[in-house]
């Protein structure tokens, strides 16, 4: 079985994000990069499928900068067989990334049976690449997957929707699966795994190699700014019986209309 996993390298969650000088992106010089946390669930599920199916290979794919290849190396250390890196700037849009991933899969000459990805990347939070890639590969996709069962080529996938409800999908390979937290417990990269990963193949392509050019850009970002400071809170006096109902009504109204959390 040919299994592909798409991973992205994102700033560590602890990173303090600051816009760069001209507001065209964020300051990336001192960022610690990690594998996108949702992608860890994708890698783990791929490795579990590989373990259960002889003659399977897991290929990890990444589109991004080459200064640090942490995400791919982590996936190889966890147990993936080989890696493909498409070298690019860090600010491609979802369409370009999906197209580059499609090109990278095509270049391996292998027909994908399973493609895994994280449900979203925690940097641009676009939640587009998995569905776009599935559309480009002309295969079905199921996103926000928290349950995975596989029997031969048949899969049963649980997709989380609002209120913790689940859509249970039945589908046959090939399929793209976008993983959510809760799908599994990702393994740690073991130290022998890290040492072995050194010798695993990592192919490297340019964007042009995989058929992506500037004309593929669909989304432009500008004016990166910090969100406004949180204003001081409001305090209401409601010790007296007469004041209570009014205060509660007001606060509930503010939660709905001002804070917009209800």
């Amino acid at each position: 079985m040919n299994i592909f996993v798409c991973v992205k390298q994102v700033p560590d969650t602890e990173t303090k994000v600051t816009p760069n000088g001209d507001g065209s992106f964020i300051e990336t010089s001192s960022i610690k990069w990690i594998m996108n946390p949702y992608d860890e669930f994708a890698v783990e599920q791929a490795l579990q499928v590989k373990a259960a199916n002889a003659d399977s290979t897991v290929t990890v794919l990444r589109v991004g900068g080459v200064k640090d290849t942490e995400a791919l190396r982590t996936a190889l250390a966890m147990g993936a067989d080989d890696a493909v890196l498409v070298e690019s700037a860090d600010n491609l849009d979802s369409y370009m990334i999906a197209k580059a991933l499609k090109g990278a899969i095509d270049k391996t000459g292998k027909k994908p049976d399973l493609v895994f990805a994280g449900k979203q990347a925690i940097d641009d939070d676009c939640l587009q690449v998995p569905q776009l890639l599935a559309q480009m590969l002309d295969i079905p996709s199921v996103s926000v997957v928290v349950g995975f069962e596989m029997n031969g080529s048949k899969l049963m996938l649980k997709r989380e929707i609002e209120g913790g409800s689940l859509e249970v999908y039945e589908v046959e390979t090939p399929v793209l699966i976008a993983a959510n937290k809760g799908l599994n417990t990702p393994r740690y990269a073991s130290l022998p795994g890290i040492m072995k990963a050194k010798k695993k193949p990592m192919a490297q392509h340019s964007l042009a190699d995989v058929g992506v050019s500037d004309s593929d850009r669909r989304v432009k970002y500008s004016q990166f700014t910090l969100p406004p400071e949180k204003p001081a809170g409001k305090k209401f006096e409601a010790m007296e019986e007469g004041a209570r109902a009014g205060v509660v009504k007001e606060v509930v109204g503010l939660l709905r209309n001002e804070a917009k959390v209800i």
């Binding site: 969650t13 990173t15 303090k16 369409y95 925690i122 940097d123 939070d125 676009c126 939640l127 587009q128 569905q131 776009l132 599935a134 559309q135 079905p140 996709s141 996103s143 926000v144 049963m156 996938l157 989380e160 929707i161 913790g164 409800s165 689940l166 859509e167 249970v168 999908y169 589908v171 046959e172 850009r217 669909r218 989304v219 432009k220 970002y221 500008s222 004016q223 990166f224 700014t225 910090l226 969100p227 949180k230 809170g233 409001k234 305090k235 209401f236 006096e237 409601a238 010790m239 019986e241 205060v247 509660v248 606060v251 509930v252 503010l254 939660l255 804070a259 917009k260 959390v261 209800i262």
Partner: protein
């Protein structure tokens, strides 16, 4: 002026309210609304009031239940060559999954999860959070049309004025094409409370709860707003709640969008576990309690009086 299609989702006898929020920002554009299924008459009326010129109920085989391929194919066929410049939808569970696939089928660009937007001269420009909200940026779309946009629910707010248009209703029958991933069943999740660390809303009780039984009033509030119940260390140490419910340095670190602290003074160890909550409501009888320094909305009052009132109020609002 642009030609815009707003994709709405039917829910009961209405459509999800994000559709109205979006309509409220589209004044000056030529706007149609479409939904898969039958748009209820009352909803159609409301959509017209908020600026919908045409209201399309899209029907076809295998479209009752959402599937990424079925709905994407159906909308692709519906949109066809009608010449829409933009397609906007709420970034709901369905919208988030459907729109990227649909955009892909047009080889078109999409802006996700915008929290505000303008149509200056008929051209879309949005604002969206990136890096988990640590940053905001302006987003614009280029390339083949239509352009696709998902809008975060509750971000724009309901429109305050009306911009009534004809709202001609219409039924379209379309082909859902090949569906390879089917939904076999839907498992309802209402009874399963989310874990504290994943909960979107948390209602927490402190030492002032006085005993374990009193947590009942927090559970009632939690049921109404779809929250998970937590507790402070003081409440856990006093035996009012199990350790699994503890929020704080030695308990769980949480960052829900709404945290309601009831009778919690706000010891630093508790604050450390919940300070990243988006909005904090504090209810405490002590006006100098440290929790009020972190609260967006503080109510100086007795939780045993305030919480039941709040439950009632939310019930009326969300009913």
């Amino acid at each position: 002026m642009s030609k815009v299609l707003v994709f709405a989702e039917v829910q009961g006898d209405d459509v999800k309210s994000v559709a109205y929020e979006i309509l409220g920002k589209l004044s000056g554009q030529s706007v149609d609304v479409a939904a898969i299924g039958s748009i209820p008459a009352a909803a159609a009326e409301k959509l017209a009031k908020h600026g919908a010129e045409n209201i399309h109920s899209i029907k076809g085989d295998k479209l009752e239940q959402y599937t990424p391929e079925g709905w994407s194919n159906a909308l692709k066929n519906f949109i066809g060559d009608k010449g829409y410049d933009y397609v906007l939808a709420g970034s709901t569970a369905t919208g988030k999954d459907l729109l990227p696939r649909l955009a892909g089928s047009f080889d078109a660009g999409m802006a996700s999860e915008v929290v505000n937007f303008t149509f200056d001269g008929g051209t879309f420009a949005g604002t969206r959070p990136l890096f988990a909200g640590k940053c905001l940026a302006k987003v614009e779309i280029t390339g083949p049309k239509p352009h696709f946009v998902t809008v975060r629910p509750n971000a724009l707010g309901m429109p305050t004025s009306e911009d009534a248009k004809a709202g001609a209703t219409n039924e379209a029958t379309v082909d859902a094409g090949t569906i390879r991933a089917f939904v076999k069943e839907i498992v309802k999740g209402a009874s399963e409370k989310l874990d504290l660390t994943e909960a979107n809303i948390i209602v927490s009780g402190g030492r002032a709860m006085k005993n374990a039984e009193n947590f009942k009033i927090l559970n009632e509030l939690a049921d109404v707003v779809g929250a998970t119940v937590g507790a402070s260390r003081a409440a856990v140490d006093s035996g009012y709640a199990p350790h699994a419910m503890q929020v704080g340095q030695t308990g769980k670190t949480v960052s829900p969008s709404l945290y309601i602290a009831c009778g919690i003074s706000g010891a630093i160890q508790h604050l450390a576990g919940m300070r990243t909550s988006k909005v904090i409501v504090a209810i405490n009888t002590d006006p100098d309690a440290p929790i009020f320094t972190k609260a967006d909305y503080g109510i100086v009052g007795d939780l045993f009086e305030i919480v039941p009132l709040m439950t009632k109020e939310f019930k009326a609002l969300l009913g």
